[in-house]
Amino acid sequence: MKLTRRATLLMAMGTAAAAVLPFRASAAAEDAIATFTGGATVGAGGLTLTAPEIAENGNTVPISVDAPGAVSIAIFAVGNPTPDVAIFNFGALSGSQSASTRIRLAGTQDVVAVAKMADGSFVKASQEVKVTIGGCGG
C-alpha cells in the first residue's frame, strides 16, 4: 500500500488522537453495528476475539473470531473511515463457528466482533489494537 507522506502523517495523528480520547464508537461504527444487529440488544460472552495488543503494521493485522453456535460473525474496525471489515456466515458444514483473516487498521482503535447466535440473539467482544508509529521518515 503506497501511502503518501501526508496520509501517513494523518494516520499518525489519528493514532495520537485515538490514544488521548477515551474509546467511543464513532457514529459510523454504531450505524454499521446496528445494521448488522437490526438494532437488537447486544449481550456479551460466548464470543472470543483474538487480535494482537500491538500491531507492527496496521496494513496487515491478523485476527480470529470464535463463537460456538453462531450463525454469523461480523467484524468492525470502529476507528476506520469505513468501520465494516467482514461478515462470516457459517453454513451447515462449518466445522466450527470460527475464522481467521488479516485486516487493515487506520491507527490505534478498538476492533469489535458481533456474533449472531442461532436463537437470534447477539453478543459482542472487543479489543483495543495499538497500531505502531514508525520512527523514521517525516
Binding site: 500500500m1 462470516f88 458444514l93 466445522g95 470460527s98 488479516r102 485486516i103
Partner: protein
Amino acid sequence: MAENVTPRVRVPRSAAAGETITIKTLISHPMESGQRKDSDGNPIPRSIINRFTCEFNGETVIDVQLEPAISTNPYFEFESLVPEAGTFVFTWYDDDGSVYTESKDIAIA
C-alpha cells in the same frame, strides 16, 4: 481489472468421515480500498474481492462478505466438517465482475 489474481487453498488430502478439518485460503489481489489517492491526487477507484464462499458437495461451509478493510492478498482460515468423500469448491467474487474458483477433492481415510 486486477492482474495476476491466483487463488490458493490448502485442504488435507483425506480425513475420517465426520472429522473436522482446517482449511486455509489465500488469493493474490491488491484489495484497492478506494480511499487512496495516486501521485496526482486523484482517487484510485475501489477494486476488491467482495465475497468468498466455500462449499462441500454443494453445501455451504462458509460465506464471507469482504470490505475494503481486508488486507491485500486476502487470507482466510476456517474449519469444515467432512461427512463423506467429495469436493470442496472455493469461489472469490471480484468488484470487476470476475469470479475465481478453485476446487479440491478429499478422500475418506
